[in-house]
C-alpha cells in the first residue's frame, strides 16, 4: 500500500500564500483592471500575510518541546520541506526584503501601467521560490526553488522592453544564470552518485557513518553545487554578470533582485554545507575560504574604479559576498553571523538601490556617479539616507554593518581562519574607498542644476526602514543577534 504523503499546510503556508497571491494579483488585474497602485497595495498585503504565516511557524516551533523537535516531526511532505528556525528566519528576511523592494519599485510598477500586475506577480513568485530554496533539505527541491526564484528575476531584469540595456541585462542574466543552474544540478547528480541520496539529512547520516574511500565523484559534486550557488550570490570568480545586469535592469527592481538572490543563495549554501556535508568541513572550508578571498579582493579593488553607482554597488556586493563567506567558513557556528550579516546587508542594499531609482528614474538603466554630485544640496534626505547606508555597508562602527562584519570575522577566527580575517579586514579598508567616493561626490562635489523628481511615500518609508536597521542595530544589536543566533538549521 502506498502511504499518502504527510501534508502539513503549516509547512508550506508562506510559499503557498505567495504563490497563490501571485495568481491572485494577475486575476484581479484581469477581472477589475484596477489602478496599478491598488495592485501594489494588494501585493503588499499578500507579503504581509506570508510574513504572518512565517511568524505562525515560528510560534509553533517555539511551542514544541526539545524531544519533539526531531527530523520526523519537522520535515513534512515526505521530507521535501523542513520547518526549522533557519527556514523561518529566511522567510521573514525574504519577506522584509520583498516589502522593501516593493516600496523601492513602487513608482516603477506604477509606471508600467497594465503590465504592473505581471511585475508584481513575478516579485511574489521569486520571493516564494527563494523561500522554498531556504526551507528544504532536499536537493532537487532546492533546485526547483532556485529556478522559480531565478527565472522570475530574469524576466524582471528585462521588464522595460524599450531599453536595450535592460534587454541585454536580461539575456546576459538568463544565459549565465541557466548555465549556473545547470552546473548546480550536475553537482547535485554527482552528489547523489556519491552518497546515494538527495536528502541532506540522509547524506549527513551516510557521510558520518561511512568512510568514502574514493571521494572524487562526491567532492566534484560538492564543488559544482558550491559553484552554482556562488554564482547566485555573486561571489568571485563567478560574479562577472552582476555589474552588467545591475546596471541594465530597471532601477526599481535591482535592489530586490540583488538582495533576494543573495539571501536565497546563502540560505541554501549554508544549509547544504553545514548539514549534509558537516563532516567534510575541513575539505570545503578551504575552497570556500578561497572564494571568499577572491571575492573580497576583486570586489573591493574593482569597485574602486567604477564610475556608475550601480556597477559600484554590484562590485561592493561581490566584496560583501566574500565577507559573508568568511562566516560560512566557520560552518554551523557561523550561521548566526551569516544571518545577521545577510539581514542587515540585504536591507541596506535594497535601500541603496531605492535611492538609485529615485535619483535616476524608476525604469532607467545606468546611473553615472556624476549625477550624484551635489545630491546633498538637491535632495538632502536621499543623500543622508544613502550616506548612512553606505557607511553601514563599509562597516563603520555604530552601524549594524560593523556588528555584522565583526560577527562573521570572529567566528572565522575561532574556526582557525585568522589569515582569512586579516585579508578580510584589509579588503574592507580598501572598500571604504568605494563608499567614500560616493559620499564625497554627494557632499563635496558641485551641485548640478538637475531637478530631481519629488519623493514618494514608499521610497521614503523604505529609506527610513533601511536607515533604522543600519543605525538601531548598530547601537543595540542584541535582539537581532539573538534572533540570528537561534536560526540554526535542523
Amino acid at each position: 500500500m502506498i502511504e499518502p504523503p504527510d501534508i502539513s499546510w503549516l509547512g508550506i503556508l508562506p510559499e503557498l500564500i505567495l504563490g497563490l497571491g501571485a495568481a491572485l494579483v494577475l486575476l484581479i488585474d484581469v477581472q477589475w483592471k484596477p489602478r496599478s497602485r491598488v495592485l501594489c497595495q494588494a501585493a503588499g498585503i499578500i507579503l504581509a500575510l506570508a510574513g504572518i504565516a512565517a511568524l505562525i511557524q515560528r510560534v509553533w516551533l517555539a511551542g514544541l518541546g526539545p524531544e519533539e523537535q526531531t527530523a520526523a516531526n519537522l520535515t513534512p511532505f515526505g521530507g521535501m520541506l523542513v520547518i526549522d528556525q533557519y527556514g523561518v528566519f529566511a522567510h521573514l528576511l525574504l519577506i522584509v526584503v520583498a516589502l522593501c523592494g516593493l516600496g523601492a519599485g513602487w513608482r516603477f510598477f506604477e509606471s508600467l501601467g497594465r503590465r504592473g500586475a505581471e511585475g508584481l506577480a513575478l516579485l511574489l513568485l521569486s520571493t516564494a521560490g527563494f523561500a522554498l530554496m531556504a526551507s528544504t533539505p532536499h536537493l532537487v527541491m532546492m533546485f526547483l526553488g532556485l529556478e522559480i526564484g531565478s527565472i522570475s528575476l530574469y524576466v524582471l531584469a528585462g521588464f522595460t522592453r524599450t531599453e536595450t540595456a535592460s534587454e541585454e541585462a536580461a539575456i546576459k542574466y538568463f544565459l549565465l544564470g541557466s548555465f549556473a543552474s545547470a552546473i548546480f544540478i550536475y553537482g547535485v547528480a554527482l552528489v547523489f552518485a556519491g552518497t546515494g541520496s538527495l536528502h541532506l539529512f540522509e547524506q549527513r547520516v551516510f557521510l558520518s557513518s561511512n568512510i568514502v574511500l574514493r571521494p572524487a565523484v562526491l567532492l566534484a559534486g560538492l564543488a559544482l553545487t558550491i559553484v552554482g550557488l556562488a554564482f547566485k550570490v555573486t561571489a568571485a570568480p563567478f560574479h562577472s554578470w552582476a555589474p552588467d545586469v545591475y546596471q541594465g535592469a530597471p532601477a526599481g527592481v535591482v535592489g530586490f533582485m540583488a538582495a533576494a538572490a543573495k539571501v536565497g543563495g546563502f540560505a541554501a549554501l549554508v544549509r547544504l554545507l553545514s548539514t549534509g556535508f558537516a563532516d567534510y568541513a575541513s575539505t570545503w572550508a578551504l575552497v570556500v575560504a578561497g572564494i571568499a578571498v577572491l571575492s573580497m579582493l576583486i570586489g573591493s579593488f574593482l569597485g574602486v574604479v567604477q564610475d556608475d553607482l550601480r556597477r559600484l554597488l554590484a562590485y561592493s556586493g561581490v566584496a560583501h559576498a566574500g565577507f559573508i563567506l568568511t562566516g560560512v567558513v566557520a560552518g554551523r557556528s557561523g550561521t548566526g553571523g551569516v544571518w545577521f550579516y545577510l539581514a542587515v546587508y540585504s536591507v541596506q542594499l535594497v535601500g541603496a538601490y531605492a535611492v538609485v531609482a529615485a535619483v535616476s528614474g524608476p525604469s532607467s538603466a545606468g546611473s553615472a556617479l556624476s549625477r550624484y554630485s551635489g545630491l546633498g544640496k538637491r535632495q538632502p534626505f536621499l543623500a543622508l539616507g544613502l550616506t548612512v547606508l553606505l557607511l553601514g555597508m563599509a562597516g563603520i562602527p555604530l552601524t549594524s554593518g560593523f556588528i555584522a562584519k565583526f560577527g562573521v570575522f570572529q567566528e572565522a577566527w575561532r574556526a582557525g581562519f585568522g589569515w582569512l580575517v586579516v585579508v578580510a579586514l584589509l579588503a574592507s579598508v580598501v572598500s571604504f574607498f568605494i563608499y567614500l567616493r560616493v559620499i564625497v561626490a554627494m557632499y563635496m562635489g558641485d551641485a548640478s542644476d538637475e531637478l530631481a523628481p519629488p519623493l514618494g511615500v514608499p521610497v521614503r518609508a523604505v529609506l527610513m526602514v533601511a536607515m533604522a536597521v543600519t543605525l538601531i542595530f548598530g547601537l543595540l544589536p542584541a535582539p537581532l543577534l539573538r534572533l540570528a543566533a537561534n536560526a540554526l538549521p535542523l
Binding site: L391, I396, P397, L398, F402, F406, G407, F409, Q410, W413, R414, G418, V421, V422, L425, L426, S428, V429, F432, F433, L436, V440, Y443, M444, P477, A478, L481, R482, A485
Partner: protein, 509 residues
C-alpha cells in the same frame, strides 16, 4: 556619570540637528552652549576624582551583548582623566572660534559634537570592543569636517586621513578578536574587558604580533615617523576647529593607546620593542623639528611641530620610567593646550588675511599688539620656557628617560633647541620689522570673543607651568601601576633613579 559625559554631546548633536532651518546664526551659540554641560560635568569629575588611587574610578558596566561578552564598560583613571578634561575644554572653544564657517553651519556643529562624544568615549572605554567602536567612529565626523569645510585640497586630505587611520585600525581589530579568542581558549569564555585580559598568558611570539598590530594603529594616529605623512595634509586643509581638535585630542588617541593598551596588555613585548620605538620617537622629534624650520606655511609649521612634540611623549612612554610615563601624560595635555592655541591663532590671522604663508606677513606686532603678544606667549609655552607648561612636560620626559635611554635623550634634547629656532624664526618673520605690505597695515587686533577663546588656554598654560602637581597627583598613581605591572610580569627593572620615590629621595644612592 561617565555615560552622561558621552551622551550629553551626542544629545546636543541631536538637538542641533532638529533645530529649524532658518535661524542659521543661532547654531554656533547653541552648539557652544550644548557643549558646556559636558565641560561642567568633566570639571565635576576632576574635582571628585580621588587622587592617589591607581585603579579605575566611577566604573560603570552593563551587558551590551552577552554571548559575545561585550559590555558597556567605562572607567576613568589618572591616564584618561586629563584627556577627557582636555576634550571637554577644547570643543566649546573650537566651536566658538568657528565664526568663519558660513555654510552648512548646522552640520558642522552636529559633527563637532558627535566628535566630542566619540573622543570622550574612546578615553573612557574599558572594553576593547567598545574602545574600537569609538576609535573608528570618530573618523566619520572628522572626515566630514575636513572634507566639507577644509581648504582647496580638502577631499584628498580627508580621504588620505581616513584611509591611513582605517588601515591601522583594521589590524588592531584583528588583534582584538585574537585576544578575545585566546581568552576563550584559556578560560572558556571570550572577553574584551581590559581588566580581564591582564590575566592572559600569551606566548612571546603571539604577544609580539599583537603588540605590533596595536602599535601600528596607534603609531599612525600619533603619528610616529615614518607614518606621519597624512598629518600635514590633514592639518593644512582642515578648518581651524578641525585642526585644533585633530592636534589637541585626536593625536592623543595614539599616545593614550600606546600607554594604555600596548604597555598595559603586552608588557613583555613592550620591553622587547623599546629599542625600535624609542629610536623612531627620537627620529620623529628631530625630523619634525627640522622640517618645521623650513615650512613656508604657518599651519604646516605647527603641524610638523606636533610631530616633534609627540615624539617626546612616545619617547617618555617607552623609556619605562616614572618621569617618562607621567611626563608623557602631562605632555599630552600641554601639547593639546599649546598647539590648540597655536592653531586658534593661525586660524584668527587666516580669517583676516586668508593666507597662512609666512612671507605674506611681517611687522604684525605693530598692527596687532595683543595678537602678537599672545602668539609669543604661546610660542614660548610650546618651546618649553621654564614657568610655562611645555617646560614641565618636556623636562620631565627628558629627565625621566635619561636613566634608561641616555643616548636617545641627548639627541632628543636637540629638539628643544630646534623648537626655539623654528618658533622664534617664524615669529620674527611674521611679527617683527615694519608692516610693509598694505594688506597688513589695516588688520584689526583680536576681538573680545577671540581673546576670551584664548584666555582659558593661556591661563591653564601658566597654572600647569607653575603648579603641575594638581595634575601629577592624579596621574602618577596610574602610571606607577603600569610600571609595577611591567616589573611584576617581566625581567625588566626600572633603572635607578627611574622611580619617582627614588628621585624624591635624592637619586636613590
Amino acid at each position: 556619570m561617565l555615560t552622561a559625559l558621552i551622551v550629553l554631546p551626542a544629545v546636543g548633536a541631536l538637538v542641533v540637528g532638529l533645530l529649524p532651518k532658518r535661524r542659521t546664526e543661532l547654531y554656533m551659540p547653541i552648539g557652544v552652549t550644548l557643549s558646556l554641560p559636558a565641560l561642567a560635568l568633566s570639571g565635576y569629575l576632576f574635582a571628585t576624582f580621588e587622587s592617589g588611587v591607581a585603579g579605575f574610578q566611577f566604573v560603570e558596566r552593563a551587558a551590551w551583548y552577552e554571548p559575545w561578552s561585550v559590555y558597556w564598560h567605562l572607567g576613568v583613571d589618572g591616564i584618561s582623566l586629563p584627556l577627557v578634561l582636555l576634550t571637554a575644554l577644547l570643543v566649546p572653544l573650537a566651536l566658538a572660534a568657528s565664526t568663519a564657517i558660513n555654510h552648512r553651519v548646522k552640520e558642522f556643529v552636529v559633527y563637532t559634537l558627535l566628535l566630542e562624544a566619540g573622543l570622550i568615549g574612546v578615553f573612557l572605554s574599558l572594553d576593547l570592543f567598545l574602545f574600537f567602536v569609538f576609535f573608528e567612529a570618530i573618523l566619520i565626523p572628522m572626515y566630514f569636517i575636513i572634507g566639507i569645510w577644509g581648504g582647496e585640497r580638502r577631499i584628498y586630505a580627508a580621504i588620505k586621513f581616513f584611509l591611513y587611520t582605517a588601515f591601522g585600525s583594521a589590524l588592531m581589530l584583528a588583534a582584538i578578536i585574537a585576544l578575545a579568542i585566546i581568552h576563550q581558549r584559556q578560560t572558556g569564555a571570550p572577553s574584551f574587558s581590559y581588566v580581564e585580559l591582564f590575566d592572559l598568558a600569551l606566548n612571546p611570539t603571539t604577544e609580539r604580533w599583537l603588540f605590533a598590530a596595536f602599535a601600528l594603529a596607534f603609531a599612525i594616529k600619533v603619528p610616529i615617523f615614518p607614518l606621519h605623512t597624512w598629518l600635514p595634509d590633514a592639518h593644512v586643509e582642515a578648518p581651524t576647529a578641525g585642526s585644533v581638535l585633530l592636534a589637541g585630542v585626536l593625536l592623543k588617541l595614539g599616545t593614550y593607546g600606546l600607554l594604555r593598551f600596548n604597555l598595559g596588555l603586552f608588557p613583555q613585548a613592550t620591553v622587547d620593542f623599546v629599542p625600535v620605538l624609542a629610536v623612531l620617537a627620537v627620529i620623529g622629534i628631530v625630523y619634525g623639528a627640522v622640517v618645521a624650520i623650513v615650512q613656508p606655511d604657518l599651519k604646516k609649521l605647527v603641524a610638523y611641530s606636533s610631530v616633534s612634540h609627540l615624539g617626546f611623549i612616545v619617547l617618555g612612554t617607552f623609556a619605562l620610567t616614572s618621569g617618562g610615563l607621567a611626563g608623557g601624560v602631562i605632555q599630552n595635555v600641554n601639547h593639546g593646550l599649546t598647539t590648540g592655541a597655536l592653531f586658534f591663532l593661525v586660524g584668527m590671522i587666516y580669517d583676516r588675511r586668508h593666507t597662512k604663508k609666512i612671507e605674506d606677513f611681517g611687522g604684525l606686532a605693530k598692527v596687532m599688539p595683543i595678537y602678537s603678544g599672545l602668539f609669543l606667549f604661546t610660542a614660548f609655552a610650546s618651546i618649553g620656557l621654564p614657568g610655562l607648561n611645555g617646560f614641565v612636560g618636556e623636562f620631565m620626559v627628558l629627565l625621566g628617560s635619561f636613566p634608561s635611554l641616555p643616548i636617545h635623550v641627548i639627541v632628543a634634547a636637540s629638539g628643544v633647541i630646534l623648537a626655539a629656532i623654528y618658533m622664534l624664526w617664524a615669529y620674527e618673520r611674521v611679527f617683527t620689522g615694519i608692516p610693509d605690505k598694505p594688506e597688513n597695515q589695516k588688520l584689526l587686533d583680536l576681538s573680545v570673543r577671540e581673546i576670551s577663546i584664548l584666555a582659558p588656554l593661556v591661563l591653564l598654560m601658566i597654572v600647569l607651568g607653575l603648579y603641575p602637581k594638581v595634575l601629577l597627583d592624579r596621574i602618577e598613581p596610574s602610571t606607577e601601576a603600569v610600571l609595577d605591572r611591567i616589573e611584576a610580569v617581566t625581567d625588566y627593572r626600572v633603572p635607578v633613579p627611574g622611580r619617582i620615590d627614588q628621585v624624591l629621595a635624592g637619586g636613590g644612592e
